[in-house]
């Protein structure tokens, strides 16, 4: 680690702490967001997420080495963690810390974009099915039934393994396309109950079109399950990408993702465990934080769960 990298890391930590503190400070004025910050786990989860996003953005400053550079394949292969190589080096003598930092970009990016595709699609289908009902609902929901019965990991393996060298964007879309079924059911159930409520009936009576009713009146009130499933979705997509990369068919090397770092170094786990352990820990931390934040959002937006 260079002095600059330490400094950048320190600044990132301070900025994270300040950001979370400021958010918390503002939140305390509002009852529902006070509930969000009530659990210490949620606050920590939010902090970790903010920190990792900042690290991903500032990767070139925080990473002391080029993540793909093989520093010295003879002398620096599987070097154990030290002050120079904070998390050690991997089987090809690349700096694990730098790769983990850059990996945050790819892994978090795929997670967020994949979940965005999935949640947008799921919300749209769920809202349409729940709002228009009748045959539209029947057709869409039978489709969702099939989607939920698809062995998803098989489908993904097939799509990714058979279309060799799938570009990055396609990978995200494929993952998104196979991950929206659960969300659409949740949203549909929510819309079904909301559309009977007085304010929706009133909006319709005032002559609002169905688009306006759905987007302005129904969906904002279904925000809780949508946000929760988005948070959980990011974690799920991240895990899926990691699994695919672990099986050697996700993001192509040498670009680091946490999944393919584990895959690259798993064979040498007995002699150099650090290069496998740290990327896995990073994945766990993100998914953990997302789960904690999802719990917090559920608490904040859904007062029924208050006692839990």
């Amino acid at each position: 680690m260079t002095l600059g990298a330490w400094l950048a890391l320190f600044v990132t930590l301070v900025v994270t702490a300040e950001l979370v503190r400021a958010l918390r400070h503002r939140a305390l004025r509002q009852e529902r967001w006070r509930r969000f910050f009530r659990h210490r786990t949620t606050t920590w989860g939010l902090g970790i997420l903010v920190f990792l996003v900042l690290v991903a953005v500032a990767a070139p400053l925080i990473a002391p080495f080029d993540p793909n550079k093989q520093l010295d394949i003879v002398h620096l292969k599987n070097h154990s963690p030290s002050w120079t190589f904070l998390l050690g080096t991997d089987v090809l003598s690349r700096d694990v810390w730098s790769r983990t930092v850059y990996g945050a970009r790819v892994s978090l990016g795929i997670g967020a974009l994949g979940a965005l595709v999935a949640v947008a699609l799921g919300t749209f289908v769920g809202a349409v099915a729940g709002y228009y009902q009748r045959w539209i609902d029947a057709v869409l929901m039978r489709g969702v039934d099939v989607g939920l019965a698809l062995p998803r990991i098989f489908i993904l393996l097939m799509a990714v393994a058979l279309w060799d060298g799938l570009p990055f964007a396609a990978l995200i879309i494929v993952i998104g396309l196979t991950s929206w079924f659960g969300t659409s059911r949740l949203v549909r159930a929510e819309v079904l109950s909301l559309r009977q409520r007085d304010f929706v009936v009133a909006a319709r009576a005032l002559g609002a079109g169905s688009g306006r009713v759905i987007f302005r009146h129904v969906l904002p009130n279904a925000a809780a399950p949508i946000i929760v499933s988005a948070a959980l979705g990011v974690g799920n997509v991240l895990l899926l990408e990691a699994s695919l990369s672990f099986l050697g068919i996700g993001v192509k090397p040498p670009d680091p993702t946490w999944g393919n770092m584990i895959a690259d170094n798993a064979p040498s786990i007995y002699t150099a465990p650090w290069s496998t352990l740290f990327p896995g820990l990073a994945i766990s931390l993100v998914v953990l934080s997302l789960n904690a934040v999802a719990d917090g959002v559920r608490d904040a937006l859904d007062p029924r769960e208050e006692a839990a």
């Binding site: 062995p151 058979l162 896995g280």
Partner: protein, 330 residues
Amino acid sequence: MTGAAWLLRRLVASVAIVFAVVTFVFILIHVAPGRPCPENVDRAVCDELTRQFGLDKSLPEQYVRYLVALAHGNMGNSYANGRPVGTAIAGTIPFTLQLAGAALVLDFLLGLGLGIYQAVRVNRLPDVVLGNVTLFIYSLPTFWLALLLLLVFGEKLRWFPVGGASDPILCPVVNSLYCVVDRLWHTVLPAATLGLVGAAGTARFQRAAMLEVARQDYVRTARAKGLPERRVVLRHQLRNALLTFVTRFGLAFPFLLTGAVLIETIFAWPGMGRLAFDAILLRDYPVVTGTALIASVVVVAGNLLTDILLGLADPRLRVRATTDVEAVTA
């Protein structure tokens, strides 16, 4: 709707879903670029093989042929080794069941126990600690946990074997008590991986379900009339909170199947997940379609079983369509 009519409708729907899944997988794999020949095979040989497998026919024709064969209970032969797909899958099922069964037992015993214990001690120290621990385990990537367990218990401590389903030298030929124990021994690490992650999820579910029930009037009544706490928890709270548990039971099948692909690969476990993965890499179309068929049957059967069990356990749910229940947990 009466129970029989409901069941019939669900059965028809289930068959339709499986049919749709098979169609989808069939189309997906046949429109994928590339042919099921390794790259170093001569072109002429590859053309001949393509003809033999009937892959030169049009897609609809291949599809109809496949369905006709399927209707006769024939899932085709593997391209890789010529074995009937049915036999190949049947050979892996005992292993998958063994692994899934062991994982499920751990998942539910540990998960239920922890969930109930946490609910009883709600918001006290043990609950908070266990809540954080289960949240952490629940967030672990299964394949990474598998590597971790292998590293610690397989390599460093050498308590358990690091792969395979049995002693490769003795047990294929000798059938003895040693081999039974040996097989169990080989099951421990892969089952613990799947079971621990599952148990963490089950515990979180069960805790929430117990607390949901704890707010009900009949629980307060039971307490008010002076029943011992133990009886209130076990007879009044737990029995009603088990409904969530039933739902989770049905949903555990797909988790075990999908988790199983990775876990079986890591532990060199000769189950269905690994068969499917290898088949995909080899472009062994019949095996891929066959395993997808079986996997979707398991998922659909799991859902159906859940609905039936829920109906039996809770009369309130019998009339209503159960999609809302699934939606909550999907």
